[in-house]
Amino acid sequence: MARMKAMHPVPAVLRAQGLVKAFKGRVAVDQLDLTLAAGDRVGLLGPNGAGKTTTLLMILGAIKPDRGTIDLAGHHLPHRRSKAMEQVGFVAGYLPLPENLTVREALSLFAGFAGIRNPQPSVDRAIAEFGLEELADQRNQELSSGQRTLVSIAKATLHQPRLLVLDEPTASLDPDIAGRVRSSLLDLHRRNNTALLVTSHNMREVEALCERVVLMSAGRIVADGSPAEIATQFDVDDLEGAFLKVAADLRGPR
């Protein structure tokens, strides 16, 4: 399979090269290179302040890098951002949904934002795919955290993106709901070959969702490989061990 990929390289859905971002002199992201092919499932991990969210926001065009280039879904940022975002979805566990709208209305609205002229079929499909039938006519503020996360994912997939970017999608969810969210994401990946780029502090979640992990510390990539390869690189049993080692190195000796 790897040989096949080498012979017929899969077009990159994301190619970020040499990204640098500093805020008031403090470097948040430093010379970051990141490439995702169609259908890749990549976890972006690192301690707080490692630069994960800044990296995601640069990839999405919400923050402009100081240096470096980003090609997203075949379009160069920032000039072709709108065109690129037609093929990218974004979900953040910490972002609310518009209040006073029913789930169906909110989905219809975001279908419009995605430029879908007749939103009804896309909305119906998303509701069916994520099992939201019973919630469709409830207002967003009446939903539980888990339900809101599912609606957020449905919202981000209305236009069937090639890449879904998820920033801590299951933060503050109980394990049962978090498991349901993960299953939905894997189903989505299997159905549409959607590439996933996920940040999370839940190592088990990353191991379950992602085939590749990029570990960041102080704005730099310190490891890139499968969860097992990363554990081997840090000479620990699992991803959590590697994460803890990186965090300890960052803190320095006590």
Partner: protein
């Protein structure tokens, strides 16, 4: 420009208005209170002094035209602020909606709210004081057009300031209108202003628009040359405001200010 996305922006803000009864205050209640306040003041002045009988039409024409600018400006500014209040800004920024499409959506939505406000004002001024703005005639249309464009320009500046300085700049949404109210001669000729302000007031396109309305109301001819000058000034003001908004969006993206709203 993708019209589907523009329509989605309009729908978003229409649903907010439709579902929030308190937001109807700025369409119906505040304009009505203003009509009562300024109409009664004009009526009182006219009663006291026969020579001032024009004060009711002066004040009410100024008020209706001022609300034209205000409604368009406030709708544009508060529609954007709504995204910050509800932490929806990142949701919008990470869709394919372009800044120009977003602005077109809230600009059009401002026109919808303006029509509703003008209906309220017209009914109130006719019913309570027997004043009908259409007495100005067709020339009211270019005057209203100029004030709409100036309202959009002020809204762009407010949005730019919020992008740059965050929610603390929101106070300017209401404050900037009072600069226009004070120095544009909304209710009186600018000669009544302190002498030091004459120069500044006379170059504002809004001053020329309000003065044109009063001239026609007094039975004079439409001052087309004056309206032409106001049009040039308005185009320049809009271009400056668009440049400022774009520059502030660039600063917003460069400095990562989106994290204020996520």
């Amino acid at each position: 420009m993708n019209l589907t996305r523009v329509k989605a922006v309009i729908k978003r803000h229409w649903l907010i208005l439709f579902r929030s009864p308190h937001r109807w205050f700025e369409i119906a209640f505040w304009p009505l209170m203003d009509v009562i306040l300024w109409g009664s003041l004009g009526y009182f002045i006219a009663q006291e002094n026969e020579a001032s009988r024009a004060s009711v039409p002066y004040l009410l024409a100024g008020l209706v035209l001022f609300w034209t600018l205000t409604q368009v400006q406030m709708t544009g500014s508060t529609a954007f602020m709504e995204e910050t209040w509800t932490r929806n800004l990142l949701n919008v920024l990470t869709t394919s909606v372009k800044p120009i499409e977003y602005l077109a959506g809230i600009g059009f939505f401002g026109l919808v709210k303006l029509v509703m406000t003008l209906v309220t004002l017209t009914i109130a001024t006719i019913a309570l004081y027997g004043f009908d703005l259409s007495a100005i005639g067709w020339s009211v249309i270019p005057i209203i057009g100029l004030l709409i464009a100036n309202g959009w320009a002020v809204a762009l500046i407010v949005v730019g300031l919020i992008l740059r300085y965050g929610q603390s700049a929101e106070i300017l949404t209401w404050g900037l209108n009072y600069v226009v109210l004070a120095v544009s001669g909304v209710f009186f000729p600018i000669e009544a202003l302190p002498a030091a302000l004459h120069g500044f007031a006379s170059i504002l396109p809004t001053t020329l628009a309000f003065a044109a309305a009063r001239q026609v109301l007094d039975g004079g001819a439409v001052p087309w040359s004056s309206l032409g000058l106001a049009t040039l000034g308005t185009v320049a003001f809009l271009a400056l405001a668009a440049w400022f908004g774009a520059a502030m969006l660039s600063v917003f993206r460069s400095r990562g200010f989106i994290t204020r709203y996520s």
